[in-house]
């Protein structure tokens, strides 16, 4: 699909265009919409955002490149970003991050062969009292340990399986 002319996004796009003094201010919310549609910020999404805002695609791409929450390559269905910054690291987040990569057989930033999981480390997520923690897509999962994480991975795997069966 596309984001332009897609009824799923029409109202959200209009609301964002209306709330600022300049069209350009809407570039960040529209990039989130493009990422939602395509799974990452690809050249189609960049082109559509540029068209909506009357900007050059290069200008939009520079914004997408500056901010870490816009993904410039495809990620797993569950994009797991583990905070390993100082406060979390004092509570064992480095070991947890290494264990999680090991558990999924991944290097830093890698995605599992089934396309389900990508693991990365990130800077402080403002959840320092609940370490170890991670961000799964845009939601926080806090006070983790290996047992809890294994349960979550199993839950996400079965949810993905149900979704796949539903499509079949």
């Amino acid at each position: 699909m596309a984001i332009i002319g897609n009824p799923k996004y029409e109202q959200r796009i209009e609301r964002h265009l209306a709330k600022y003094e300049t069209a350009r201010s809407a570039v960040m919310p529209l990039l989130y919409i493009a990422q939602e549609e395509y799974g990452w910020v690809n050249s189609e999404g960049i082109g559509e955002v540029a068209q909506l805002l009357n900007l050059d695609p290069t200008q939009v791409k520079s914004i997408a490149g500056f901010y870490t929450m816009y993904s410039e390559k495809p990620k797993g269905k569950y994009w797991l970003q583990v905070c390993t910054d100082l406060p979390c690291a004092l509570q064992g987040a480095d070991d947890f991050h290494a264990w999680l990569k090991d558990e999924l057989g991944l290097d830093e930033g890698g995605t599992t062969d089934d396309g389900l999981f990508t693991v990365e480390h990130v800077m402080c997520l403002a959840a320092c009292d609940k370490a170890p923690m991670l961000q799964c897509n845009f939601s926080y999962v806090e006070e983790l340990d290996q047992a809890k994480m294994r349960q979550l991975l199993a839950k996400w795997r079965s949810e993905a399986q149900v979704a796949a069966n539903g499509r079949g």
């Binding site: 960040m28 990039l31 100082l86 004092l90 402080c124 959840a127 009292d129 926080y140």
Partner: protein, 416 residues
Amino acid sequence: MHILLRGRDIPNIKQLDVYETHGGFDGLRKSLTMTPAEVIDVVKASGLRGRGGAGFPTGVKWSFIPQHEPIKYVTVNADESETGTFKDREIMEENPYQLIEGSLICAYAIQAKAVYIYLRGEFWDIGAQLDECIEALRAKGLVGENILGSGYDCEVYTHLGAGAYICGEESALLNSLEGYLGQPRVRPPFPAQKGGGLYKEATVVNNVETLANVPFIMTEGAQAFKAIGTEQSAGNKIYCVSGHVKRPGNYELPMGATFRELLYEQAGGPLHDDRPFKAMLPSGGSGPIVPLTDEVLDTCMSYEDCASIGTIIGSASIIIMDETVDMTWVASKVTKFFKHESCGKCTPCREGTYWLDKVIDRILDGRGTADDVKRIADVAENMAGTTLCALGDFAANPIIHTIRHFPDDFAQHVQV
């Protein structure tokens, strides 16, 4: 008593009817019966200082806005990205209407046409909750045209960032909100001046916690607020405690309480009873580290007292490390943060953080020399004060102060 973290005392205060039952929007109602200048005078008299880190007097900041300019804005800094800081998040999650009320009082005081709440992108769910709050307020005539029949119009919007620490710096925040790269601007003009703020209009940029204090000040009066805390540091403060304590979390105490009271009575003391405290970063990664001695523990948590022990209270993001922690590793962790978050605009910060990180890695690997320790101190000293925003100074602090206070931690890694 909680003034800010009222969600701890009043169940469901995040619901509008409950917030209103407990005095919600009385501060705005009272403000609307006063002139804007009178509201600014009350906030000035309260002694409230900015809670984002710099501690600038809030009422004075508001008074810088030129009243004759036809268009003015309020921008709420909800970017909360300093390492170890998680206070604004709790305010917005558990007591969101108090932030919006404080923002509207500020907007009325400077006669702003709109409030933009700039949230870090990771606060996706909080942004959605605030959007719902804003719509609930619009339905009751508290946001939008002719607020409570006063004739004053003001819109409130949220805006999500997308993962960039630098957007907590006010001029980078404004650039980001305008759809440009989140990089700092050359000042003057300052945000409060025509040409320097949002869309080149005069703009107040205030932190979430700062604005959440304002409804109390308007309902209870400037003197009630000033009676809390110390002479130069009025009011309560939320202290975010993380690291090696038994009960990490947010604690709201008067400014001027001691570190000992916070760390032992509230946070439960050292995580492991047999591992004493070694060091503290009282203002996240960006402020000077201090050894956690008895003298420091007995210091009051105020702007003036923290200066006397060579550090700052800043945003009060208090990271505690016990005796097992190697300060070279701490310097490395904090340097990697600033290297990642440097926006790349100013050469000393962009290049300095890159080389500091490389040389500290070498030291930690056992391939460094005593000269390398001198070298990183030298690089850090040459970064401080040479950049458009404070990130360059922040990035120098972890190097300069860890080496100053804990030279043995570096010496153990290097060849003589």
